[in-house]
Each structure stands twice: as structure tokens, then as C-alpha cells.
Amino acid sequence: MNQFEYLRPASVAEAVAAASEPGAAFLAAGTNLLDLMKLGALRPSRLVDVTRLPELSNVEQLDGGGFRIGALVRNADLAREPAFAAAFPSVAEALLSGASAQLRNAASVGGNLMQHTRCAYFQDPASACNRRDPGTGCDALTGENRSHAVLGWSNACIATHPSDFSVPLVALDAVVEIAGPDGRREMALEDLYPLPDAHRAPESGLRPGEMVVSLRLPPEAASFRAHARYLKLRERTSFAFALVSAAAALRIEDGRILQARLALGAVAARPWRARAAEALLFGAVPSAENFGRAADAALADARPSGDNGFKIELARRVIKRVLLLAADGTPERMPALPASAFNLENGAVAHV
């Protein structure tokens, strides 16, 4: 790991000022940052420790039903917050399907959302990687790429964003609140993750010095609580990144879908919102046939970036299955294996 200067600012304004210098990085729990620094993939010259900043550790219910979550709330604590988990069950399920209990106890909301889009070559400083070192090429294009992107990629970069948490959040129109050298602003969470263009793979939608101070869920997001699921396919049952995942949320009345939300994970450099599929489901009967059509629409533009054509078929099946699970209803209790395809039974349904 390279040597760095360690700073522990006392306010958000000080943190932003300290992080505006070239080479600076925010340090939250460090479970992603320190890992990448140990490998030499990231070499920040200054770490700005945000873990002691006041007022960023609250989960707040807003008037009208929305929620604001401070950037320092720990992943496990958010998943365990009863009012939050009841309003946004698919978000709690996604959180609990990520990493391990130890990592979730440490990892922060801001750090999870801002973890790097990366692949094995990004992590190996000896490999060419446009995302790590712009303009050097991409060794993944001709290398091991079976887990890489099938949507929104370019020859500049074919890596995927690995966060589970962000997938249902993007489906539910979450917003991030940002503090920066020019004051406060907010943006749709989706826009935090720019897609690569023909030559470049920008890391995030944040400008230098900007930090995520909180995450907000709009009041409408809670209206899907009775039919909201997350499903994550991985190479082992637990403690593995997604190969393909999907979050579905439905509003069903009188046997018809009034509103559908669908987003895919681990298929692109951003959580992939499938708006064409959502439109197709409007007014439809929740059936395997209609869900299959929605899956086809969601993947109409998908194409392999390497040895990963199988992910398109997997994604189709994951979409169909997660929509069926959502239509069945949110389980009353978190499944024993959150977001897993291997749950034997889902138990009683909540929010009926």
C-alpha cells in the first residue's frame, strides 16, 4: 500500500475542502478502498476519514412517507431498521444478500453506493485497464470475461458495478444528496454511475471534492411494499458477488399491474433500469407469460462483451423469476437465504 496523509475532518465542509485536492479519497469503513489500496489498484495520496462526521448516521422518516438515510449508516443497521425494512423490503433483502455479516456491520451506505466499478484486471496493476489508468487499454476484452457486462458497455470498459443495494434503489427512484465545493445538490442515484463512452470509463457522476451525504427514497417508493423482491444469482449460495441479479416491485390492484419497477444488477456499469419492460407490464395480468415478455423487452439491447452470452439467458430467467416472486407477495419474514434462488419456501406473505 502506498503512503498517504490521514485527515479526520470535523465537519462536512472541512471534509469537502480536504477532499478537493488532487489524489484525495474519502475513507468510510474502508472495506473497498483499503482492499484496492493493498492491491495497488488505487493509490490515493490523502485519506479523508468521514466516519466521525456528525449527523450522517441517522435514518429519518420524512413527512409524506419518504426516508432519508445518512451516508454513514452501516449496511447491517439499515437492513435491521424495522420501519425501513417494512417500507422497502427489497432494499433490505438486497443489503442482506451482499458480502458477509462482518462486512455489512462495517460497510457504510455511502461506501456501498460509491464502491468502484471494477473487474479482476482493474485490481491487478500489471494489467491494462482504462478505468484505472485512462488510455492504457482493457485486458478484459481478450481475457477472462465471463462475468462482465452485457448491457451499456463499450470497448473502453466492460466491467459491471457490483453493488446489490443500489439495484432496488434505482428501481425505486432513489436520490443521492451531495455536498461539494460549490454547495449542495442532488441527483438520481442512477446518474451516479456513468456508462463508458467509446474511449473513457468515468468513475462516478461526482465532481472532485463532492461527497454523498445522504440517500433519499421518495414516498411513492413505499407503495410497492406488498410486492417487492430482490433475486441474486451467484457462484455459491452465500458471500459472493452477483453474476446476475434483479429487483422487481409491483403495484397490483384487482388482479392487474398498476405499476411495475424493474432493475438488473451485475450486467452493466450501472444498476440497469428496464423501463421498456415496466411499460409493457402496465395494466397486464401478473402471469409467467407476461413476465417472459417483459424479460425479452428488458434484454432487447443486450449483447455479449466476451465469453458471457450465457448471462443474457440467465438474466431473462432471473427477471421472470423475480417478477413471479414479487407478484406472490413480500414474505412476512426475511427469507433464511436473502435473495437466493435456493429458498425452500418463502413463508407467509406480509403487507396483505
Partner: protein
């Protein structure tokens, strides 16, 4: 620049001078405080051998920067037994053959103590397996490990009922 931090490790308050901010909590425990019960497996958050409790929560000490934990209360495997009397979770690992070579065991035991405190699994072995998935065992002693955690959890729940 030397930074000074203060930690309470296994109940004892310790001031540590940190001359290099790169030191992780794991390296600090092992190399500076000579508490080598906490193991380094992968050093990347992937195996759980380095699990300790920080302010009562299980975390991976290999991905925690020591300077960032100034003021924290840390519990390691060395802080569990009182004299020759083992902690109930330690005893349960012995009674249920919860290890072979023992390398992963301190992390498994600390993780199990964290799991029991979280009180989310009940006595469902599937939930316990899921909640212990951050601890790998190269010897494949997982069957005994899960039995040990279940046994320890039930013993502690029984103790609590009796004292309640």
C-alpha cells in the same frame, strides 16, 4: 507524523503511537500488541479469520484502518476465557468438534459471539449457516462449526432464561 490513538482491548485501555497510518487493526493487534490469537488469512475481507468485535460488533480487522478506530472497544479471542474457565462458545466448539487445524477458529468463535448477540437466527440451522458465511474453514469443519454455534446459542439462551 505520529498519531496517537487509544483503544480498550479486552477491557484494558491502551494508548498506541501510530507512526504509519497504513497499519490495520489486525496488524496492530498482532504486531504491536502481540495478540496473535486473531489470525491473518486472506487480508482482504474474504475469509473471516481476522474477525474481532469492535464496540460489540463483529468486523474484519484486516480491512479496518487502526487510526480510524481511535477510542474503540475491541474484544479478541484472548479476552474470552476467565482464567481456566472457557467462554461458553469456546466450550461448544470443543464439545462439537468445531475445528481441525484451528487456524480459522478464533475468527469463527468471535463471529459466532457476534451472531448470537445479533439475535436474528433463532435456532434455524439454515439461518446460522447463512450468518456464518463470512467465515471460511479450509479444513471443511463447517458441519461441526454450525453445530457448535447452535449449541452455544441454545446454552446461552437457556442461561438467560434461568437468570431472568
Amino acid at each position: 507524523m505520529t498519531l496517537s490513538i487509544s483503544l480498550t482491548v479486552n477491557g484494558v485501555r491502551t494508548d498506541v503511537a501510530i507512526d504509519d497510518p497504513r497499519v490495520t487493526l489486525l496488524d496492530l493487534l498482532r504486531e504491536r500488541l502481540h495478540l496473535t490469537g486473531t489470525k491473518k488469512g486472506c487480508d482482504r475481507g474474504q475469509c473471516g479469520a481476522c474477525t474481532v468485535l469492535v464496540d460489540g460488533r463483529r468486523i474484519n480487522s484486516c480491512l479496518a484502518l487502526a487510526v480510524s478506530h481511535d477510542g474503540a472497544e475491541v474484544l479478541t479471542i484472548e479476552g474470552l476465557a476467565s482464567g481456566d474457565r472457557l467462554h461458553p462458545v469456546q466450550a461448544a466448539f470443543i464439545d462439537n468438534d468445531g475445528f481441525q487445524c484451528g487456524f480459522c477458529t478464533p475468527g469463527q468463535i468471535m463471529s459466532a459471539i457476534g451472531l448470537i448477540a445479533e439475535a436474528e437466527t433463532g435456532d434455524d440451522p439454515e439461518r446460522i449457516r447463512e450468518a456464518m458465511s463470512g467465515n471460511l474453514c479450509r479444513c471443511g469443519a463447517h458441519v461441526g462449526i454450525i453445530e457448535a454455534v447452535l449449541d452455544a446459542r441454545n446454552r446461552l439462551a437457556e442461561d438467560e432464561r434461568r437468570t431472568a
